[in-house]
């Protein structure tokens, strides 16, 4: 029997894990969105305006240059102050409370480095802040997965003239990244992604450009009208406080009801690209966009599963907290932690809102155009900046620090119970009947079927 020799194992990470493994966990466009997120965190630390004011980020911007030759992002969001430098370049953030009472979302301190590792063979980070300027170089040697050297050279100077901000320059791109940056559809998707994910921050004044094109915010607008005793089309609205997280849930119609003919087409192939579904926003950042799954309550708690007939319904769940840890966000900043209590509190409200509008849609099934007059009386308003129904006219929710506004929606004038008839016949036969009834062989099959029924109903009632 041999005696066991006490020994030690190295339990730390390897360079390869960070520079070539971790980067596989994130899509290229998400890695770039992480960099824009960092600019916004900078603006939050720097702005003197209250973050819940109308335009706290006015004057702050991020400019991206994305070409096959280089990637560059520069901002005027304050730069990296001396206190933050060390942690900014460490892999992982030791002090999660660093931002104290600011509603930043960066918690794990990995975004900037991961984006650099994903894109570049070499890179430089420049910063100009109130207490000095510096630049840090990531050399090809440092980024070699075999290299075990972890220290980075930093060159410090006094504060430079001009804006305080950060500039990240990746001048030597990896081949596959250079190829992606030469692709028009990648750039198109990247720009759309920035407009979608930062739409609410851009609405509050933050500006972003990509290759010289100023982007425009994309935010949700829903049909509403001023509160009154009349039954009209208005959204469901909920506003509450849960464990120091402010929650707002608004669900409603962003377009008129989908007609049956459109639904029939959609079952064969997608007919449009409208953003129906529920989006989740944390501290003004969109982390889930147009979701139509059980994650946001579809197919749960009495809400039907998503179906093309509900394509007019959209909603927004908004969380706000100065304590980023309390927000339902996973590591990527754009991942939802759907298992957290604060999210369950909001999800309960969403299912109530969804139920209100799926029921309305079902009541008008087959007579969708009858609802058009109600849509004509209301107008689309921006959810975040305009709709305040819960705060101003909501009722207290029992057992919660919250108010909700459940709209009284219009009813169909003809309340007779309705049944749907559906059947399939050969194309040639449908065309022949269409020709016979309308002297036009190309009428919609549903119209041909309905006309047949109506004619025989008249006969039957003679």
């Amino acid at each position: 029997m041999t005696e066991e020799t006490p020994a030690e194992l190295f339990g730390g990470p390897t360079k390869r894990f960070f520079v070539s493994m971790l980067t596989r966990d994130i899509e290229l466009d998400d890695a770039i969105l992480d960099l824009v997120d960092n600019c916004i965190d900078g603006a939050m630390r720097t702005t003197s305006a209250a973050l819940d004011s109308d335009k706290p980020y006015a004057g702050f911007r991020a400019d991206l240059t994305v070409t096959p030759e280089k990637f560059e992002i520069s901002d005027n969001c304050g730069g990296i102050p001396s206190d933050y430098i060390e942690e900014a370049f460490q892999l992982g953030r030791p002090n999660i409370k660093k931002d104290g009472d600011l509603p930043t979302v960066g918690m794990y301190g990995i975004g900037m480095k991961r984006a650099i590792f994903k894109m570049g063979k070499t890179a430089t980070v420049f910063s100009n802040a109130d207490d000095g300027a510096f630049h840090v170089d990531y050399s090809a040697q440092w980024l070699n997965p075999e290299n075990t050297e972890w220290t980075l050279p930093i060159s410090r100077q006094g504060r430079k003239n001009g804006d305080n901000g950060v500039r990240i320059l990746v001048s030597d791109l990896k081949d596959e990244i250079s190829k992606a940056f030469s692709n028009k559809s990648f750039l198109n998707r990247l720009m759309a992604g920035i407009q979608d994910h930062f739409g609410y921050l851009m609405q509050k004044g933050f500006e972003v450009s990509v290759n010289g094109v100023d982007l425009v915010p994309k935010t949700l607008g829903l049909y509403t009208s001023a509160h009154s005793g009349e039954s009209e089309i208005r959204p469901f609205d909920y506003s509450g406080l849960f464990d120091s997280v402010e929650i707002r849930v608004t669900v409603g119609f962003f377009r008129a009801l989908v007609r049956e003919a459109e639904i029939d087409k959609e079952t064969e192939a997608p007919v449009d690209a409208e953003a129906a579904g529920i989006s989740v926003v944390c501290n003004d950042r969109v982390i889930l966009l147009g979701d139509r799954t059980i994650k946001t309550g579809w197919g749960d708690a009495g809400v039907p599963r998503y179906h093309p007939q509900f394509r007019s319904i959209a909603g927004l769940i908004e969380f706000r907290s100065n304590d980023a840890e309390k927000l339902p966000i996973s590591t990527t900043k754009r991942g939802l932690d759907a298992g957290s209590d604060v999210y369950f509190a909001a999800r309960k409200a969403v299912t109530e809102g969804l139920k209100t509008f799926t029921s309305f849609t079902n009541r008008f099934k087959g007579i969708e155009s009858e609802a058009n007059e109600f849509f004509a009386k209301s107008a689309r308003s921006d959810v975040k900046t305009t709709i305040r129904l819960a705060q101003e006219h909501g009722t207290q929710v029992r057992g919660a620090n919250a108010k909700k506004y459940v709209p009284v929606l219009p009813e169909p004038t003809n309340k007779e119970s309705r049944k749907r008839i559906s059947f399939i016949r050969p194309d040639d036969e449908v065309r022949a009947v269409s020709e016979y009834l309308f002297q036009d062989s190309g009428q919609q099959p549903s119209i041909v079927g309905a006309e047949c029924f109506d004619r025989f109903l008249k006969e039957a009632r003679k």
């Binding site: 425009v216 997608p270 449009d272 690209a273």
Partner: protein
């Protein structure tokens, strides 16, 4: 989807568009040899395009598809050669059948595919199909896509107040919003408004994004270079992009010195607007062809269109495209 059933004699601009396309095929296919190619399109009931492509370019391998069985039966009756394949197939199935179609023909290696879409209600599906086909193409292939760019299809059939009711900034912004709702990620993100004359370039921009997506997702380093971008209006306005496919290792080029309709970029659209001319008018213009369009307009002594400017533009278009200008005559067979 089915091919349009309106005959070419009622669509002179489409006729010219196709003539230029046939010229382009003749310009391109000698690089690899006509017998290497398979021509694939929705042939319509008379297979007119297939006949012309065969006669004028020498491509012997012809394939036509249509989703209606009775149309395929009629195509089989009308086929110009015994070796033309006519099959019942939806355009959504073409991408997955492409390799099989080529393997039907001995020695064929490349394809000329024309996706001739007319329905304005299925733009997303059409672009998705285009991407699916493009992803499966090979260097040396030619792809042509026609889409409906009739502006009333974007503003509630010409309802001039629709944009206000929807809370849009302008009619152009409303059209852009509507098109974005239809095709989403395929529309260039930086497009904010579509002017009344801007629909062709908006859709060409979208086709360009579609092909970039196909290029990226093909994983084969394919390049799609536009070689002919046209727009015309016989009834509804239609816009067509023709691209050639190559890769770094397998170049396939159109020579801009000898191919006069080579666009500078995706925005460089050739407007085809053939004036409706009597034979006598045509002879007169041909006789005075060396004069300026304004002089010819004056010499005619009457306008060919509603305004003088439009008349001069029509003469200009005729001068540029007169080689392709149709002369339809009644004959008794």
């Amino acid at each position: 989807m089915s091919a349009s059933t309106i005959p070419y004699r009622l669509r002179p601009n489409k006729f010219i568009d196709r003539e230029i396309f046939v010229d382009l095929i003749n310009h391109l296919v000698p690089q690899r040899g006509a017998s290497e190619y398979v021509y694939i399109s929705m042939g319509g009931m008379h297979l007119v395009d297939h006949s012309i492509v065969y006669r004028r370019t020498g491509i012997p391998n012809l394939y036509s598809f249509d989703h209606e069985e009775k149309t395929v039966r009629r195509q089989n009756f009308n086929r110009p050669l015994e070796t033309v394949f006519c099959e019942q197939l939806g355009s959504d199935q073409l991408a997955s059948k492409l390799d099989q179609i080529v393997s039907n023909f001995d020695n064929a290696a490349n394809v000329v595919v024309w996706l001739d879409y007319t329905d304005p209600n299925q733009r997303l599906e059409q672009l998705q199909e285009t991407a699916a086909v493009a992803m499966r193409l090979q260097p040396g292939d030619i792809l042509r896509v026609t889409v409906n760019t009739h502006i009333p299809t974007l503003d509630e059939n010409g309802d001039s107040g629709a944009w206000k009711a929807a809370g849009a900034e302008s009619p152009g912004a409303y059209r852009c919003e509507r098109l974005r709702a239809q095709i989403g990620e395929y529309l260039p993100t930086d497009l904010r408004a579509i002017a009344e004359t801007g629909f062709p370039s908006a859709m060409l921009g979208s086709i360009s994004v579609t092909l970039s997506k196909a290029s990226r997702e093909s994983g084969a380093g394919l390049n799609f270079q536009p070689v002919l971008l046209t727009s015309y209006k016989d009834g509804q306005r239609m816009t067509t992009a023709t691209v050639i496919v190559d890769s770094e290792d397998h170049p396939f080029r159109a020579d801009s010195k000898t191919w006069r309709f080579m666009p500078k970029d995706w925005m460089d659209v050739l407007e085809i607007s053939a004036p409706d001319l009597s034979l006598r008018e045509k002879y007169r213009i041909d006789h005075e062809i060396s004069k300026s369009s304004a002089d010819i307009n004056q010499s005619l002594g009457f306008p060919l269109s509603e305004t003088e400017n439009k008349s001069i533009a029509a003469i200009e278009s005729y001068k540029m495209l007169r080689r392709y200008y149709p002369s339809f005559h009644h004959t008794e067979a």
